[in-house]
Amino acid sequence: MVRVDGSGNGASLVSVRGLDKKYQRGGEEIHVLQGLNLDVDKGDFVAFMGPSGSGKTTLLNLLGGLDVPSAGTISVAGDEITHMAGRKLTTWRARHVGFVFQMYNLIPVLTAYQNVELPLLLTKLSSAERKEHVETALHVVGLADRMDHYPRQLSGGQEQRVAIARAIVSDPTFLLCDEPTGDLDRRSADEIMALIGRLVNEFKKTVLMVTHDPAVAQRAQITLHLEKGVLVEGAKGGRSA
């Protein structure tokens, strides 16, 4: 269950308390997030919406350990990441977070297989074990027959599916999706959202997603709006809730 009032009992998978983020831009201080609270349980599928500059991506970066907050705490599966830094935070990210970006961000000189294998190279898995994991992930996203293709040989939707395979291959604690359909046509977007929905429903993945598109947000169990630096609850999702 998702809560934004700070009433969680600490047993949530993701627990955010009093999160602040300020930026300095041209001598001016911009207060993006202001005492934000959030609790997300395992298996939840949350969509974040809000106008440009409202801090959606900033929130996602903070949850993924890519950025540090000005104040407040973020705990994921009992680990308080706001106290982590450097190598420890990097290792935590490799173990717990699967990123899906708007522009796919695949490495163009690597094949689909090699792109998906990237997170596993940081583990102690053998080559044979890595192969098994990569093939499984590509099978889940429906691209087992495209594993030797380079990104330039794939459509946008296929590239994003490879990116999703890369995000799930190491079985992370949760997926952070930043506008995963922002660069896709409607049909490809529907396919990607169906895939993410399947990951939630079938594989019990926890997904936190930023989107501008209300139709995409409808796929989530709940949509949260970022307004004046805090989250407010929106409509429950249509299909997944």
Partner: protein
Amino acid sequence: MKFSSLILANLLRKKLRTALTIGSFAVALFLFGLLIVFQGAFSANADIAGTDRLVIQNKTSLIQPLPLSYRDRLLRIPGITQVTHDNWFGGVYQDKKNFFAQFAVDVDNQRQMYPEFVISDDQWKAFAGDREGAIAGAGLAKRFGWKIGDRIPIQGTIVPGAWEFNIHGIYTGKRPEDDTSQFWFHWDMFEERVPAEVKGLVGWYVVRIDNPDHGAEVARTIDQEFSNSPYETKTETEKAFATGFAKQMGNIEFLIMAIGSIVFFTLLLVTGNTMAIAVRERVGELAVLKALGYSDRFVLLMVLEESLVVALIGGGLGILLAKLFTMGGDPTHGFLPRFYLPLTGITAGIAAAIAVGIIAGLLPAISAMRLRVVDALRRV
């Protein structure tokens, strides 16, 4: 090893650029290899000079002679254990282009004075027993296809006339750097045919001393012995003599150092610029790697490794080409008898390539390491 495909893929991203950078390294290291070879060739005699030998020449210049009578006086000087003398012949074999050093040598002392030149007793005995006999270095014999028993015609220049010599022996060097391009014949025969006004004169003396530490003192004594005479002497160690001889052609070492430094500095700029571009082009990819859990240190090392791989492939190729080039031997046919790339030169070349690879890759690697994921992803 599991990351090698990532590094290889990055290097093959812009094949032409990588090939050109490797080519830059190859050309630079090829040139470096040749410079080492030339430096070695010019300083060869100084490097391998005997520490217990002194060379005595006419104080005016090397081309002015010294009296044969000095031999006995030299032997009386304390510290000198052996004396030999040589004359430069300067003859032409078939064509002026076929230059090689020919010496009229003191048959009784030459072999003992230069133990680094190896020849069998039988061959030396046959040489000593024939006034028209000659000994050729193995390199020289190979160059002209000479063998024992051949009769070699040489046209005299300093001492004009047609000369003929019988090859009785072929000497080799104990070390690879020993000069095996010389041609020796009897000083007695030379003395017979020189004009009357230059009879009883030798080109220079070489003496062996009992203690190399006393070299300077013995040299001073020798020069004092012959001071205020028509033939004053200049005595120095064999190494100093060889160095001075090489310096007649200019400060080769300085030239080589200067050219080498410029080549490597240029290479550093070219490679550094290439690596900086390569990193700038994939800021987004590096950020993604970091987002996936790759550490700052990994990114630093990955960029450095890419630079190193280019340096090692290019450098290795260049050094290999230099080695192959020098395996053909002295291209000047006699002026540079020690024309080869030694192992120390190969090692120095590879070390220099590694150093340039690391230095060139360091700044781009540090900037990649310091890259903030959030900032970099925003730029994508």
